[in-house]
């Protein structure tokens, strides 16, 4: 993704920080709003270059809509993964087959990769061990047969990515690029 202009980065950082101020103070008192705007201006001036690369492009309506839609989608994925792990823990035979698999992501931006790594770690059963370029190394509580019996490396990566990263990437690719 191309680098945004300074002004765009600054305005984007200011907007995000001001929203955070509203959440933290939980007040619409005019004195709080004025102070929040001043503080957000100062912090944005100091940190906009560190905070963002894409600037205001992040607030494109399609991206915001996908970001909002991602929340219930992710919560649902997390609930299902929780039930799955609970089943494995409570089952008398304890059907676990742990292993480390390799996935390849289609995401390009750093923020997208961070979100994907955190989404994988937050869903029980999978933990991101390392991110190296486009490759994710993931510890999996139950490595299924098609990944375990993959004929070669590319098939292994393909099957593992299909199961772990693709469902999140559908949304994250639109949100973060």
């Amino acid at each position: 993704m191309e680098e945004a202009s300074r002004a765009s980065k600054f305005v984007y950082t200011f907007i995000v920080l001001f929203i955070l101020w509203l959440v933290v103070t939980a007040s619409l008192d005019s004195q709080e709003l004025i102070t929040g705007a001043v503080i957000a201006l100062i912090v944005a001036a100091l940190t906009h270059d560190v905070f963002t690369r894409a600037g205001l492009a992040n607030l494109h309506p399609k991206r915001v809509a996908y970001a909002i839609a991602y929340i219930p989608y992710f919560l649902w994925a997390m609930i299902m993964a929780n039930l799955d792990v609970a089943y494995r823990v409570l089952h008398p035979a304890r059907p676990i087959r742990p292993g480390i698999v390799k996935c390849r992501t289609v995401l390009n931006s750093d923020t997208g990769k961070l979100s994907l790594a955190n989404s994988i770690t937050l869903t029980p059963g999978t933990i991101t061990l390392d991110v190296d370029g486009d490759n994710y190394f993931i510890h999996w509580i139950w490595v299924p047969d098609e990944v375990l019996n993959a004929k070669d490396d590319s098939e292994h990566v393909e099957k593992a990515s299909e199961a772990i990263t693709r469902p999140f990437e559908k949304y994250l690719r639109v949100i973060f690029g």
């Binding site: 004195q31 503080i39 912090v43 100091l46 905070f51 991101t128 390392d130």
Partner: protein, 238 residues
């Protein structure tokens, strides 16, 4: 003979001291609440300082001089760290750059941590917190940057100037109080100008407490960042 005399003398002395102590303790009412100073603060804190948070009102307003001393202690600690770890030439020696998760997470978190630190020290007179925890929170943002990026260093010149200016600012606020009200750290904004009397509990109240806490927050933040910088850098041979 001598030992008996000595012993009786000791016993008589003990009895006299014991009687004296008992007399003194008899004057103290038993089983009564003795928090006279505490109750005085709690009863008068709103009208005298305009702060809702009695703890910060005591720390900054009633005992402002003590807090100035604490800031001085922190300054001396930071100077001490600087003196102990002094080298002619120092630089970052970390070799491994943080992983993408750490560096990107740091980029995203730094503005939020700074804003939250500012929130804590600006609301010192309303909510728990104040200049010291707020400043420490801001220093955490710089610690994060140090841990994620091998080449990062704080802007030393700007930090040293800020530190000196806010330290002087605290004393100047106290001296203005001396000029207007007759004693050092007199709360001129609340007591003489009477600003904020009609909106106790909102942000622009509490006399000079928010101003002093902003100064303390900046001072603590820059000073702790300086300590982190001193500890993470190592001397190099020329």
């Amino acid at each position: 003979m001598v030992s008996v005399l000595k012993r009786s003398l000791a016993i008589i002395t003990l009895l006299i001291i014991g009687y004296w102590l008992a007399q003194g303790l008899a004057g103290v009412p038993f089983g009564q609440d003795k928090m006279l100073v505490g109750h005085y603060y709690l009863d008068h804190v709103k009208e005298q300082t305009g702060a809702v948070n009695a703890v910060t009102a005591i720390v900054v307003n009633y005992r402002g001089f003590d807090t100035l001393g604490e800031v001085t202690v922190l300054f001396i600690a930071s100077t001490g760290v600087g003196a102990l770890l002094w080298e002619r030439k120092k630089r970052r020696t970390a070799k491994t750059e943080g992983s993408i998760v750490l560096t990107t997470g740091t980029r995203l978190l730094v503005p939020f941590v700074m804003l939250f630190g500012a929130y804590i020290f600006i609301h010192g007179h309303l909510t728990p917190g104040g200049g010291f925890p707020g400043g420490a929170t801001i220093a955490t943002a710089f610690l994060l940057l140090y841990m994620a990026f091998t080449m990062y260093e704080i802007p030393h010149k700007a930090f040293e100037k800020t530190e000196g200016l806010v330290g002087m600012g605290y004393v100047i606020v106290g001296l203005i109080g001396l000029a207007i009200g007759g004693y050092f750290l007199f709360d001129w904004i609340w007591q003489t100008w009477g600003w904020g009397h009609d909106n106790i509990g909102r942000l622009f109240s509490g006399g000079f407490i928010p101003i002093i806490y902003i100064l303390i927050g900046l001072k603590v933040g820059t000073e702790l960042s300086g300590i982190i910088d001193n500890m993470l850098k190592e001397g190099v041979k020329e």
